[in-house]
């Protein structure tokens, strides 16, 4: 039973077709990756799915309900969270406060009780902080909880974004290039984290350029080229698909894939 199902999604900007007829579905606990050369429409597809762009055609359904037309802050309520390709960290806040913001929907308080500093606000703050700290431990950032987020290294910020997204307890987690710009060790950590998130029952949708990572942890892969779906299947079938090799992976990519699968 698929949790997230995307069908026939399409959008064009000023006559340029960015995404055209893309559909896929993801089940709980599955890692579903979207790959494709630069400009293939991967991030646009993410922005369509997460309500940042409104699709001109097609549908996005989460647990059977359509998400089309909902503003981004309402999508979280339905169980969808994401990270961003270019980091969207709250740089003026501490590491733990970043994750605490991710708990926003779980927090029970009103603007009025907040400005009066009622006792239950302090209680709520403690609950939120505890939950955020547990998430920081999970992504290995607990030691930096009270550091300014701006002072963390790049790889740590990537994991911080994941922790913040997880704070909303999403059913579907969309990760836009979580390992981009990370070194081998940082990539390894993110790799293990994604596998663990999926194992806990969350559906993970992943955009990633690191083929080694994609081939290793994906259950299924969708290949986009020029906004259209080129192929879909398991890492093995994708790696062996001549059309994919020609369009995207090239010699280098398939060698990488071979190595990853040993």
């Amino acid at each position: 039973m698929s949790l997230l199902s995307v069908s026939d999604l399409g959008i064009s900007f000023g006559g340029v077709v960015a995404v055209d007829g893309v559909g896929f579905s993801v089940s709980p606990g599955e890692v579903f990756s979207i790959i494709g050369p630069n400009g293939a429409g991967k991030t646009t597809l993410f922005n369509l799915v997460t309500g940042i762009y409104r699709p001109q055609r097609g549908d996005v359904r989460l647990a059977g309900q359509s998400l089309i037309g909902l503003s981004p802050h309402l999508l979280v309520r339905r169980g969808m969270a994401r990270t961003f390709q270019n980091l969207q960290i709250f740089f003026r806040m501490t590491t733990i406060e970043n994750v605490m913001v991710g708990r926003h929907l779980a927090e029970r308080s009103s603007f009025l009780s907040d400005l009066l500093g009622l006792p239950h606000v302090a209680r709520q703050n403690r609950l939120t902080r505890d939950a955020a700290f547990a998430l920081l431990e999970r992504v290995g950032l607990a030691a930096h909880a009270d550091a300014n987020a701006g002072s963390l290294p790049y790889g740590a910020l990537k994991r911080l974004e994941i922790a913040r997204a997880l704070a909303a307890e999403p059913k579907v987690l969309l990760l836009d290039e979580p390992a981009a710009g990370c070194n081998a060790i940082e990539t390894e950590a993110i790799d293990a984290l994604i596998v663990e998130i999926a194992r806990a029952g969350t559906a993970v949708v992943l955009i990633e350029h690191d083929m080694k990572l994609v081939m290793k942890i994906s259950d299924r892969i969708l290949v986009l080229a020029q906004g259209r779906p080129l192929a879909e299947g398991t890492p093995r079938t994708i790696r062996d698909d001549p059309a994919v090799i020609a369009a995207y992976l090239g010699d280098h990519g398939s060698r990488e894939a071979d190595r990853a699968h040993g």
Binding site: T50, I52, S71, P72, H73, V76, R77, A81, R82, F84, Q88, I89, F90, F91, R92, M93, E97, N98, M100, V101, G102, H104, L105, E107, S109, S110, F111, D114, L115, L116, G117, V121, Q124, N125, T128, R164, A165, A167, A168
Partner: protein
């Protein structure tokens, strides 16, 4: 331990209370108390901007307009409607909030420079209304304001106004500090850095911005009402564009987002011109120069820079 104590809201309130307690002990005459009361009142208005600009990152160049609503509210209520000054103050603050709510909805969709210009336009319209509706507002000459009476106590004299304005400022600071460290405050500070990520975390960005805008307008209106009552007179100048710019300067010089910063910034821009009057025609130039020097030397603002310096010393 000391580090976290320096950050806590009680430390901020204690420092503010200490400042308030010391001034009457060292002030040589009632004139100084009056200047100090002005500082507390303008600091209250600046605190509103701290919530809107400092926390949420939304610029307003029309803040003095809301100050004008409060000031003219306490003038018009007793004169034309026969209301008590205190009730007029409360109603004016509420009205200011309602106007901010109505105007804020379309305006806050704009960002950065565009928001600044839209709030500027709004402030200019208000200033124009105060200036030209002579039948109600007294026109450019302004109007007299009845003395403020609270439960039979008629507030008069520099000393009484000093304590009243200081008390209201402490209350305002307490509220602003409460917001900072609450779910709403985190949402505001988050959308300051990234609206898309804040929305991605479930923050209703438009609603939170509007709440900050309304809160700022109420702060300004209460400050305006107190200002008018203390002076016993209000002129359209209070709502002028120059005052809006001054409020922005106060929160930036003091330290954007810092509650104590808003107070220090207000003190800077109110006390310095008084202290520089002996320079006569050079006063404005020296004031401008001092603002530049402070911004270059302490780009984060006075209070955050001092706090960093202190925590480094203690670490």
């Amino acid at each position: 331990m000391l580090k976290s104590a320096l950050r806590s809201r009680w430390a901020t309130l204690a420092v503010l209370a200490l400042m308030i307690a010391i001034v009457p002990l060292i002030a040589p005459s009632a004139f100084y108390l009056r200047v100090a009361a002005l500082v507390w009142i303008f600091a209250l208005a600046a605190l509103g901007l701290t919530i809107l600009m400092g926390y949420a990152g939304q610029v307003s160049l029309g803040h003095a307009g809301f100050l004008g609503i409060g000031a003219y509210g306490v003038a018009i209520g007793p004169t034309h409607l026969g209301l008590s000054p205190l009730l007029s103050l409360i109603l004016a603050a509420a009205l200011s909030g309602v106007i901010a709510y109505v105007v804020g909805r379309p305006i806050l969709r704009l960002k950065g420079y565009y928001l600044a210009i839209a709030t500027l336009g709004f402030g200019l319209i208000l200033a124009l209304i105060f200036q030209s509706e002579s039948a109600v507002t007294g026109g450019p000459d302004g109007m007299a304001v009845a003395r403020l009476t609270v439960f039979g106590w008629r507030i008069a004299g520099a000393m009484q106004w000093y304590w009243v304005s200081a008390g209201v400022l402490l209350l305002g600071a307490w509220i602003a500090l409460n917001i900072a460290d609450s779910p709403s405050g985190r949402a505001l500070r988050a959308l300051h850095d990234s609206e898309v990520a804040a929305a991605g975390a479930g923050v209703d960005v438009a609603a939170k911005k509007l709440a900050a805008f309304v809160a700022a307008a109420i702060y300004a209106a209460i400050a305006g009402g107190l200002l008018a009552c203390m002076n016993g007179l209000i002129t359209p100048d209070a709502a002028s564009f120059m005052h809006s710019v001054e409020f922005v300067a106060m929160v930036i010089i003091g330290g954007l987002g810092s509650v104590l910063g808003a107070v220090v910034g207000a003190a800077f821009l109110i006390v310095l011109p008084q202290a520089l009057t002996s320079l006569q025609e050079y006063e404005q130039a020296v004031l401008g120069l001092l603002i530049m020097v402070f911004m270059i030397a302490l780009p984060m603002g006075i209070v955050p820079s001092l706090r960093n310096w202190l925590t480094e010393r203690l670490a």
